[in-house]
Symmetry: C2
């Protein structure tokens, strides 16, 4: 525990893995590419779930559960879909000791099975819209894996909706992207960029895919949530038809949208530093840790009840609080430990603080003495702590936004793009290329178009790659 | 929807399936034996989850997530365990297009993979106890399935704990059984009986299994939750060892405990009647439905705002409320519909009620006019509704308890046992038989020992089957 982390500047990937393991967020499972999400990591995910679920329900969605196992033939019904997913499938071929007549796929995503059920449930325009979300696990047989970012099994929510019109489906797709944006910015302090995916990068089976893209601490992009307008593709593949008000049979319009445990990786890589995690207060499993400090038994007797009383007062205000009263570790060890765990605020209480009826507050996001406030009167502590948590939340967002904006560079030519991305930044430039040209850029530079951002400059320009007239700028970056 | 349900007395099994489907609790999935839990059923499960999760956290447990896929060899490490589960396994043999070197089992339960991880995490007595729960899905390849009661995939929680001493493990096992008991009785109004399983009926790999057993409306027993003391069986199979305070290596003592979506079936079959579901108010997705009644447009304009205002006031008090303002159904149709759905309390508001500033309250658990209160002043309605929901909750528990107690009969001989269970009841009698004798009773009568209940009569007696001296009575019943 006291061993130093590999600094981010030295080896970002190694830093990431060490933080995940040492902060006890996750561990490797015995099956290649699978992870165990440990209680500290899962509690963060539960807080993410609550923040999202509240928003899903406020926008009229309900949760349900669809089966894990999908007949192989279902995937084959939507051409793009099966092409996209068939290389990644885990397949159950034996059940109850017998070889199955039709192999079953462990769901990589649930459009097909949900499409099948919707075709049974939806008969009339009165049945629409159907607004359902599912929290669950999916399996994709990835070759190169990394804890939280890409694992064979991961946890997510997948929303699946059906609508009477193309306009409603598009509005839903955009609404849910905005829900993700609101969550990312205001709960996780991750300043994501909204945009639309290119044809090449869209979801297998979608008409149009929207995304929120985040810049990690190493300036690589992380696709953090996606919302897909599926048009009538799955409705036609699974025969989701309804009688409209004129008693005519119509295909429904469907959407799907998902955000996964990958977002835990986004939080770690957006905010973490060389001491470990820094968790945004709104989502942190523990928002405040109290470290009572003593040497002699008499000091412990004086300090511990005061720490516990303050903790109780803080809990009453709804804060998530822990008192570290273990007696086999030094205060310095405990400071390091809770810094590694990314607890946003530490309260130190020693014998002299007790005598002065005061405490010391230490911000996780501002290292050393600069982040400490000494002599905060005990009476004021709860209010000051609540206020400081808000300040930390805002400061994390501001810092990440500044970092992001400082590392996105406008480019006018392919040469400039290569220069910018070669130095690790994101390039933004006019784009009117084809999917083939996009593929060539990826091959030559390793970067992809993360999205065509919603926020666009005025006017138009010339495509940085082809010189053709271009109406939109695209964002190029290396990505996880 | 308006078609009558098959009465319970005519065909209980058919009644059950019809209720589940028509109340839109669940539906059949395209894969044999799998189900889709629809939003109404899943919301009930979410309420069950919250009631349990709160209790788990209050007793010091945290949630985590362990992998879905388990190496086949893991199951083979605990002899009884593999014997118990190997006939029911779903096996992944292909991943990413390749045949796997070692087949992976879709978890039927997680003792083995969690045991493996605990052996990595637990080093010292300071690491103990480990108190972890997991909410998730498991797959068991069952031959005869029934929605919620027995499906290939089901949803549950499984707690897994590790302790330094046998006493602590036993205390944990008993504590979690009491948590289930408290939940079942006080949230679900299902008057379960606590007891210990016989050797023959215990969990594959456990030293001792505790259970809560419920009596369904057809008097069959439903095992509704179990808590297992695993002794050192899994600790030895997976090498979960720790250094004690004397620096000596010891095996840990582990437990596991689970409650599943099967409990949704318990609620349906404990409380439902020939009109459909009756849901206990504490868990009901919708606690109160308001049905505004109108014929002419002017009446609708008078009635609807009043209904909505009352609904808003009820929601402010924290109740889960729905206003049925659809205009293509008659009030009578709506009454039947919400009765089928088991909403505990209905509020009727017609033009005359509005004129009188009053409402009609109708209890789901008391059919017809007897369950109605007319002329409840609007001002008093929220308080009266809250009070009536408490009354309904209590009445459901009382009715189920009386039904249960009226159908458990003391028996002194095998003849009496056969008579009682032949008539569909539960038999209670002194028991000192062996596992072989127990198996013979099952073969001859179809009944099993549900448990040796904690509540025992004074004294001792003669075993009803063997005549041997017996210290305990056992409960015999046919079971789901």
């Amino acid at each position: 525990m006291n061993q130093k982390l590999t600094p981010r500047s030295e080896n970002y990937s190694e830093w990431y893995t060490q933080v995940v393991l040492r902060a006890e967020m996750a561990d490797y499972a015995p099956v290649r590419g699978c992870m165990v999400v440990r209680p500290y990591g899962w509690t963060l995910w539960e807080n993410i779930q609550q923040a999202l679920d509240k928003r899903f329900k406020a926008t009229g969605h309900q949760n349900a559960a669809f089966p894990l196992l999908i007949p192989m033939s279902f995937l084959e019904k939507e051409k793009q879909h099966v092409e996209g997913f068939s290389p990644e499938l885990a397949v159950v071929t034996v059940g109850g000791g017998q070889t199955l007549e039709e192999p079953l796929v462990v769901r990589p995503t649930s459009e097909t099975i949900i499409g099948y059920m919707y075709s049974k449930w939806i008969k009339s325009y009165r049945d629409l819209p159907v607004l359902i979300n599912q929290w669950g696990n999916v399996v994709r047989w990835e070759m190169r894996t990394k804890l939280f970012l890409r694992t064979l099994e991961f946890y997510w929510q997948e929303g699946h909706t059906a609508h009477a019109t193309a306009e409603e489906a598009e509005a839903e797709t955009r609404q849910m992207l905005d829900v993700y944006y609101d969550f990312a910015v205001n709960e996780a302090a991750v300043p994501v960029i909204r945009g639309v995916k290119t044809e090449r990068e869209k979801f297998a089976g979608a008409e149009r895919s929207y995304t929120i893209e985040a810049m990690m601490g190493d300036k690589k992009a992380l696709q953090s949530g996606t919302s897909h307008n599926l048009g009538q593709n799955f409705a036609k593949a699974f025969d989701i038809q309804y009688l409209d008000e004129n008693n005519e049979l119509q295909y429904a319009w469907t959407t799907s949208w998902g955000l996964s445990t990958r977002f835990v990786g986004a939080i770690i890589m957006t905010h973490g530093d060389d001491q470990g995690l820094i968790l945004p207060p709104r989502l942190a499993p523990i928002q405040v840790v109290l470290v009572p400090i003593w040497k002699k038994a008499a000091e412990k007797e004086a300090v511990l009840p005061v720490a516990r009383e303050l903790a109780a007062r803080l809990k009453e205000t709804g804060l998530r609080v822990e008192v570290d009263d273990t007696d086999n570790r030094t205060p310095g060890w405990k400071f390091n430990y809770w810094e590694m765990k990314g607890v946003p605020l530490r309260v130190e209480i020693g014998p002299r603080d007790v005598a002065k009826k005061a405490v010391v507050l230490a911000r996780r996001d501002v290292p050393g003495r600069e982040g400490k406030i000494f002599g905060v009167p005990m009476e004021e502590a709860p209010a000051r702590i609540t206020q400081m948590l808000d300040e930390i939340q805002a400061a994390l967002l501001q810092r990440a936004t500044e970092f992001r904006d400082a590392n996105i560079h406008d480019v006018a030519s392919y040469e400039e793009l290569k220069e910018v991305v070669g130095a690790g930044g994101w390039a933004r430039g006019w784009w009117a290329g084809t999917s083939e040209e996009e593929a060539r850029i990826k091959e030559e530079t390793g970067v992809t178009i993360r999205c065509i951002p919603f926020e666009q400059p005025e006017g138009s320009g010339r495509c940085l790659y082809t010189g053709r007239p271009a109406e939109k700028v695209a964002l190029f970056a290396k990505a996880y």
